[in-house]
């Protein structure tokens, strides 16, 4: 087995896959979106609770592959408590990084987020890692539009 593969299926990723965080009912949903990846049949359901421009709670429920599930779970851990603006910036940064669009310094990212980097060596699986992020972005955009 190649080290690239090892790198993608790190224990941290597998742990998030086996025990995805933050899939729960929210008392108050301010924005939501469903995402779908026809490649894997991955399906992700994202809900945000917001207050005063801050994400007060988030729910991410994934049915899918390890990469997508872990990515969504990691994301849910990180976004909680951030401002909507910060979130938007981070989502864009993660997307750009995964797609390899530009050089991005990730050493100041939370370690769990850094663990996603292994997927960059598997171009066809990048979509799996991206799905929760693009879905979150859409959810926040929808919400912005509604205002």
């Amino acid at each position: 087995m190649t080290t690239q593969l090892d790198n993608m299926y790190r224990d941290l990723i597998l742990d998030h896959y086996e025990h995805p965080r933050n899939c729960h009912e929210l008392s108050n949903v301010n924005s939501s979106e469903e995402g779908f990846n026809p490649l894997c049949g991955d399906h992700v359901d994202i809900n945000f609770e917001q207050k005063d421009g801050k994400i007060t709670d988030i729910s991410v429920c994934t049915k899918g592959c390890a990469i997508c599930t872990a990515s969504g779970s990691i994301m849910s851990d990180i976004l909680k408590g951030h401002s909507v603006e910060e979130t938007d910036r981070l989502v864009k940064e993660v997307k750009a990084y995964l797609k390899g669009e530009r050089d991005i310094e990730i050493s100041n990212w939370p370690p769990s987020l850094q663990a996603l980097s292994g997927v960059r060596k598997f171009p066809i699986r990048i979509k799996c890692a991206l799905l929760p992020w693009t879905t979150a972005e859409l959810a926040l955009q929808n919400q912005t539009k509604q205002k």
């Binding site: 299926y9 490649l39 049949g41 390890a66």
Partner: protein, 403 residues
């Protein structure tokens, strides 16, 4: 065994260590197929039809010889009943867009099986939607995974215009009884459309035994190059159908006011066709029949059964086919708690090529209560070593996921 034919396949020689178990998606090509096609471009190439010189006559002769050979291969003595297309998908779309448009009306019914490839599902679903007709989806027996003939019998009525059914499921490998289906359809005045794309690489086909109205196949699934497919249609249907595409080589006369069309099959082959594709399928059929489809079927089934046995022994692997039903190289499975795409990625990393996902058969996958499946498909060039490597790969996958 067929070990000695493996060396005929350059991709396998040029990628040592490759275990190619994705032949149901597309087969590799033997050198002789590539050489015959290459020879055509190096010695005999010209645009066919209407060329009044020797090169063009030779190209036309090669193209039409392929038609005759393919006709013989599927069991008809009428080469003109074969239309050349890009792939099975185009063949099916052609049927739906021509005779489908002609004979399906509001309130009519189209029957498909739940195990169709999207290519034999979506065109009918869309035709039914356009016409306000009803799409009836016939299920499969959950135990045997065979087509539910009783359900088909109760679904078919005098309003049924088409019965569209695969001859071999690309996910399950099951092979419906086409003779029965054909007979039933005829009794109710419905036309049959058989998708032989996954059947004809593995099983001897003789359409004279069940008299289909239409039948389609794809060259790239039977050792020919990609980009070339076939549509068989009964001559009386082809004669009555409007053309699908219009343009050069399919017209009889064009005036500013009006166009009249050539006879089939030219009527359905607008523009410059893929001559090299025809020649490659001709060569592929020669190659397949030289080995013998019986032997190929026996070989690939034996490998699939061996893999089935070894996978069962591992435990944690869910196998969908019963071993006694395996009679071709298609083997779908899943590992508990590991998504098929992760399985395929880990196998792929070990140069073991399998397919994972919905296999362009979402209705079937949902019917089976799954999100996706892994499919290993064996063909004539696979060996027991490929089985061993698959097993090692699955074991590795379990390790990675700490199972």
């Amino acid at each position: 065994m067929l070990e000695r034919f493996r060396k005929d396949f350059p991709v396998l020689e040029n990628n040592p260590g490759l275990t190619y178990l994705d032949s149901a998606a597309s087969t590799q090509k033997p050198a002789v197929v590539l050489e015959k096609m290459d020879h055509f471009y190096r010695f005999d190439y010209a645009n066919i039809h209407r060329g009044l010189y020797n090169l063009s006559e030779r190209a036309t002769a090669s193209y039409e010889a392929a038609r005759t050979r393919i006709a013989e291969f599927i069991g008809t003595a009428v080469p003109e009943s074969l239309v050349f297309t890009r792939n099975a998908t185009e063949s099916l779309n052609l049927i739906a867009a021509t005779i489908g448009e002609q004979i399906v009306h509001k309130g009519d019914e189209i029957i498909v099986s739940v195990m169709e490839h999207h290519a034999n599902f979506v065109p009918w679903q869309q035709l039914a939607a356009r016409k306000d007709a009803k799409l009836k989806v016939v299920g499969i027996d959950r135990k045997t995974l065979e087509l539910d003939m009783a359900a088909l019998e109760s679904a078919i009525t005098g309003k049924t215009r088409f019965v569209c059914c695969t001859m071999a499921s690309n996910v399950l490998g099951t092979t419906p009884n086409v003779a029965k289906i054909s007979k039933l359809a005829k009794k109710h005045g419905a036309l049959t459309v058989f998708d032989a794309a996954q059947f004809v690489p593995h099983h001897k086909l003789d359409i004279s035994t069940f008299d289909p109205d239409f039948l389609v196949l794809s060259g790239h699934k039977m050792l020919a190059v990609d980009g070339f497919g076939v549509l068989y249609g009964k001559p009386e249907h082809l004669a009555a159908m409007p053309p699908y595409m219009t343009g050069g080589d399919m017209i009889e006369n064009v005036t500013i006011e009006k166009t009249t069309y050539s006879e089939p099959p030219q009527k359905f082959e607008a523009g410059t066709p893929f001559m090299g594709g025809a020649i490659s399928l001709h060569a592929a059929i020669d190659y397949l029949e030289n080995i013998g489809l019986d032997r190929i079927q026996e070989h690939e089934s034996a490998l699939a059964k061996l893999a089935d046995e070894k996978l069962r022994a591992i435990g944690k692997v869910k196998l969908y086919r019963k071993p006694e039903h395996i009679h071709n190289g298609i083997l779908p499975f899943n590992i508990e708690g590991i998504h098929p795409h992760d399985v395929a990625t880990i196998l792929g990393d070990m140069d073991i090529c399998v397919r994972a996902g919905h296999h362009c058969a979402q209705p079937l996958i949902h019917f089976m209560g799954e999100m996706a499946m892994v499919r290993a498909s064996f063909y004539l060039y696979n060996t027991e070593k490929d089985v061993d490597r698959l097993i090692a790969g699955i074991q590795k996958t379990l390790e990675v996921f700490h199972k």
